[in-house]
Subunit: 149 residues, 2 copies
DNA sequence: CCGCATCCCTGCCGATACTG
DNA sequence: CAGTATCGGCAGGGATGCGG
């Protein structure tokens, strides 16, 4: 069971909040940490959440302002994404009862804090995008084209 | 035959056609960065990719070994996930033509490097999971129950 | 201006069965 | 053991139209 101990210290997600790592063996990797990661990944990895968060980083924005900024999004999806983000406490929704009504969306501190790890991921993406695209092209060629060199 | 990764090619992000990027403060978000982030998020944010990558972190594994380790996954999904990861150069596939056939999957250096930013995200997830769940509960209560007056 | 409801199409994902 | 093919359920997400 101690076989993975060194590895766990190297880079498992449970480095901070698993006081009793029952079996961090092969199976143990995918318990709580995996669930947490998948949870946040599901939230932020959907089609529009990141776009919204990144646009909101520059400050509060109104609904249609956001809609125009993202520009590929339908209002249905913007509403749904905003609701989901609001539900998770990542963005705040401020209604100004005027005529016409005004609604401002902004990142909460939690939403701001999320941007840091996401930026790291974005950094990786920017750095390795070419490699990924290349690998993809190679895979595609190798699969489709059996010219066997 | 189904397309394996339609997620990556959403690409309606042609708002770059607006040369008027003077207000980069609000738009301060690089369109390229946004696209890259969404791309990697789509790849890693799906239902099983992270599980596979995390299990593979302990070293190379065979197909059914991986299947047993993840245990909630169907062989269809394992195959698809592995193919997608392989296509992007994140995992390597090594076939040993024996009887019975043996196929080992392992993280490439690119796949290893991806774990770092993902770990950051996982760290965030672990640290803020409670906050998110709380916000979610508050939102749920606030929506359903209006007796706060 | 904000946002909800409906219709509908598309793609994901699981279960099963079959091949090498 | 490793992988593919097919079927069916289900959810994501776009288009449109209506209400505050």
């Amino acid at each position: 069971m101690e076989t993975m101990t060194a590895l766990a210290q190297e880079g498992t997600f449970s480095s901070a909040s698993s006081p009793n790592v029952t079996d961090t063996a092969k199976q143990g990797v995918d318990h709580t940490a995996c669930r947490a990661v998948n949870d946040v990944l599901s939230r932020v990895g959907d089609k529009w959440s990141m776009r919204v968060v990144m646009n909101l980083d520059g400050g509060a924005m109104r609904f249609n302002e956001l809609r125009r900024a993202i520009d590929g999004i339908s209002q249905r999806m913007l509403t749904r994404t905003l609701r989901g983000l609001e539900r998770d406490g990542l963005v705040s929704r401020t209604v100004t009862p005027s005529i016409p009504p005004r609604v401002d969306y902004a990142l909460t501190s939690l939403g701001q804090s999320l941007r840091e790890p996401v930026r790291a991921l974005g950094d990786w993406a920017m750095a390795n995008r070419a490699a990924v695209e290349d690998a993809r092209a190679v895979f595609d060629s190798g699969c489709d084209d059996r010219d066997h060199a």
